[in-house]
Every structure is written in structure tokens, then in C-alpha cells.
């Protein structure tokens, strides 16, 4: 009898967990709807009208955004700027990754010199990461004006923050066990890095770097609009002139670039994994 009662109590306890979960879901759902309605109200945004105008925009694009005879001669110019943007993204990501690697070593549980330094590294990484690259670009415009350096450092900082954080976690997860073993043999920290951490986690780190190159190519296009460099600058130029044929070529070029970069990085991943 006693056992029975505790059993019922347990069952009730379990049921209440389900009830609670259901209530949480409902609550979250309702709050989303409320939030949406509220923000539409405040910004005068008409959701239905917005969606209804999509077909119109589509039709307009098809009519106007077609490369025409006058836009073809722009291909070499577009190509040059496309290459500039692509190379910049790759260069930025690689530079930033190298810095992030050494910096992240100070933040890993397995290698860090002391907990205070480890904490400081994480805070600094969070600072760089939590400011979006677009905001970095705007800030840097004050320092460098419309210059390729603003774009470079904007991407550099954002990438640095994100990669530092990711590298710390990757290294702590993948290399911790062999790092422990190598330390136990009496190896020095530098030996542990080059004989343990690099061989065990490099493939995963490179995979992250490739991912960042992919994202940075996209971001570089946007940032270029702000900083007046690369393919983004060209887009802005044609757009403001209303040269729709050339704009469509630029868009096409960007799409092709992104696809090519993704294909290359998929291949590299296959080889190193």
C-alpha cells in the first residue's frame, strides 16, 4: 500500500512535467505572435502587403535585370573586382585564423597558463565576435575612410572573435586527452602544441577556416558597398546609375563566385578529413 502511494506520486510528478512543457510551448508561441503584431504595429509594417508585393518585384526583376548589349563590355571590370573581393576574403580569413590559433591556445583548458588569462581570452574573443562585421566596418570608416583597410579589418576582427572561440572549444574537445598524455611524458608546452594539438585538431580547424572563407566572401560583398571597394562598390555604382543590366551581371558573378568557393572548400574538406 505504501509502495503504491509513492508510485502514484511519481506518476503525477512525471505528468506535471509534461503539462509544464506543453504550457511553456504555448506560452512561447503566443508571445511570438504578440511580438510580431506589436512590432508590425509600431513600424507600420504591413505583412500581407509585403508578401503581395513579392510577385511584383519578381516580375520587375525579370524584365529589368537582364544583361543587355551595353553591359557585356563591363565583364572585365566586374571580373577584376570579383577577384579582388575573393582574394581579400581569403587573405583576411587566413591572417585572422593564424592569430586566432595562437590566441586561442591561451584560452584552452588544456594549455592555458592560468585561469585568469583563460578568462581574459574568452572575454576578448566575445567582444570581437559580438560586434557584427558591418558595425566594425562603420566604425572603421571613421579611422580609414573609404579604403580597403576598413573592410579588411572589419572582417578580420569579426572572424578573429568567432574563430578564437571556436578554436578554443575544438582544441579542448579533440586534443585534451593527448595533451594530457604528452604533458605526462615531460614534454614542453611548445612540443605539446606541435606534436599533439596541431596533428590532432588541425583538420577540424581547417574545416572551420574554410567555412569562414565561405561566409566572408558573402560578407565582403556587403561590406564593399559600405567601404567602396571590390565587387560591392561596383554593385553600388551600377545600382545608383540604374544600369540594371550591369547590376544583374554583378549579382550573377557573385553567385558564381560563392558556388565556386563552396565547391573548392568541399573538395579540400574531403581530402583532409
Amino acid at each position: 500500500m505504501f509502495g503504491n502511494r509513492t508510485k502514484t506520486a511519481k506518476l503525477n510528478g512525471r505528468e506535471s512535467v509534461f503539462v509544464k512543457r506543453k504550457r511553456t510551448f504555448t506560452l512561447i508561441f503566443v508571445s511570438f505572435i504578440a511580438l510580431f503584431l506589436l512590432s508590425s504595429l509600431i513600424t507600420d509594417y504591413n505583412a500581407i502587403g509585403g508578401f503581395l508585393s513579392l510577385p511584383k518585384a519578381f516580375v520587375w526583376s525579370i524584365k529589368n535585370l537582364v544583361p543587355n548589349a551595353t553591359s557585356w563590355p563591363r565583364v572585365p571590370l566586374i571580373f577584376d573586382n570579383l577577384v579582388e573581393t575573393a582574394l581579400l576574403s581569403v587573405a583576411v580569413t587566413v591572417c585572422s585564423a593564424v592569430c586566432a590559433f595562437f590566441f586561442s591556445l591561451l584560452g584552452t583548458r588544456t594549455m592555458r597558463v592560468n585561469p585568469v588569462v583563460g578568462r581574459a581570452v574568452r572575454i576578448i574573443a566575445a567582444f570581437f565576435r559580438n560586434i557584427p562585421d558591418i558595425v566594425w566596418a562603420l566604425l572603421l570608416l571613421f579611422a580609414f575612410h573609404q579604403n580597403i583597410l576598413s573592410g579588411f579589418f572589419a572582417l578580420f576582427f569579426a572572424t578573429f572573435g568567432l574563430l578564437t572561440r571556436t578554436f578554443i572549444e575544438t582544441i579542448d574537445e579533440i586534443s585534451a586527452s593527448c595533451v594530457e598524455a604528452l604533458h605526462a611524458t615531460g614534454a614542453t608546452n611548445l612540443q605539446v602544441v606541435s606534436q599533439g594539438i596541431i596533428p590532432s585538431s588541425m583538420a577540424t580547424l581547417i574545416s572551420w577556416i574554410l567555412y569562414m572563407i565561405e561566409t566572408n566572401v558573402r560578407n565582403a560583398v556587403l561590406i564593399g558597398i559600405l567601404t567602396g571597394t571590390g565587387i560591392g562598390w561596383l554593385f553600388d555604382l551600377f545600382y545608383k546609375r540604374g544600369d540594371w543590366g550591369a547590376v544583374s551581371l554583378v549579382v550573377l558573378a557573385v553567385v558564381i563566385l560563392i558556388i565556386v568557393i563552396e565547391m573548392i572548400s568541399t573538395q579540400i574538406r574531403k581530402v583532409i578529413m
Binding site: 594530457e180 598524455a181 604528452l182 604533458h183 611524458t185 615531460g186 606534436q195
Partner: protein, 256 residues
Amino acid sequence: MALLEFQGVCKIYNNTTKALADIAFSVDEGEFVSIIGPSGSGKSTILRCINRLVDATQGTVIFDESDISHASKKDIREARKKIGMIFQHYNLVDRLSVIENVLHGRLGHKSTISGMMGRYTESEKEKAFQILEKLGLVEQAYKRCDELSGGQKQRVGIARSIMQEPKLILCDEPIASLDPSSAKVIMDHLSNINRNMKITCILNLHQVDVALKYASRIIGLTSGRIVYDGPPNHLTKNKIYEIYQSSEGELITDVW
């Protein structure tokens, strides 16, 4: 003079978890000691206090006539060179070859630069192959470690620790992830190393029967305290129940 001596060692993790309380024992050269005790009793903590992967909160650990618990970073590394360690999960660099992992045992003996570059002398390489031969791993020498079975990985772990030419080998549950037959191979190798190479071994074991069969001495640990320290043939059934804080019929060994 004993090779290893614990004097009143306490370990408290994060100011809260008391892992070791007033541990005192000493180990002579050539002994084959097995530490047994329930999960969380502090076995791994004891081993890690010896090579300073964990710092004791209180007390002194003396290894090879020097106080290791208060040693400088450089002296810790000197001591670690003389102490091999074998892990439950092998802790190899999986993406490197077997031979490279074995040669890692020499890192402590080399200059930082040549260790970083992985430059080893001919005699070191020769020695590595001799050890692999003894452990039956020569065919695997150039394979990547992630292609090996658990038993083979553990033999690579053993090879790496012998490569150090250590005075002491610490084994933290060396056979806990292995099937009974690979486990026997590993235990036989460790026993051989102890007898033929005169290397002292301290093993954490979960299998009481294995400990009784191989060890020359058993240390029983219960919640951070030593409750038994003596030869295996003096370890009575009741004492085992006391170590594991259980009663007749509750241990897996009671099944036989």
C-alpha cells in the same frame, strides 16, 4: 629509501569535493601495486598527484628522493620524464602513426626545438622498433592510430611509456575498455615489464580478481582513505566488502 612516498596527502577539488584525505604510503622499487576502490574513491587522483597532473592540496609526495609536490615547473618535467603513464582511453594522437606516438615518449629528453620538429636520433628510432617488436606491433608501425583496435592502442600506450625509460609506470584503469582476452595480453605485458625491466608499476583497477592475480600488493581505497594496504593473500572477502562498502551478494565478483 623508497621510490615513492606519500605523506599526509589531501586533495580537495574546487574547495568543495574532498577526494583524498590524509593518504600515506610508500612504494619500493620493483613493486607491482594495484589500487582498488569504488568509483569516485580517489584512485585517479592519487596517480595524478604523483606526476602532478593534479596538485595535492596538502601533504608531500616524494619521488626518487625529491619532493615533487613542491617542485618548480622545470623539476616537475624532470620527474615526469621518469614516470610513464597509461590511460583508460589510451590518449594517443590518433591522426599520427604508431611509431610517431611511440617516439613521443622521448619528447621530455629532447630539446624543445627538435621535439617540436619531431627529429629523433637513429638510436631512438631503433629502440622504438625494438619495443614495438616486443609488443607485437611491428606490422602496425606505420599505420595511423585510429585504425587500431583498443588492445593495440593500449600496447602503443605501453610502448610510449617504456620509450621514456621510466622508473615508474602509472596505469589508470589500463584494461577497463578492453575485452577479457586483450585485457590479459595487456596485463601480461605490464607484468613482464615489471619483472624483466625492473620498472615499478602502480595500477588502478576495477577488477578485483585481476588485481589479486597480478599485484604484489593491494591498496584499498574508500572515499579518499586507505582502508587496506598489504599483500593480496591477506585481502579477505570481508575486507573487499568493506572497501566497496557493500555486503555479501552485491558485487559482480560474487556471481562466480
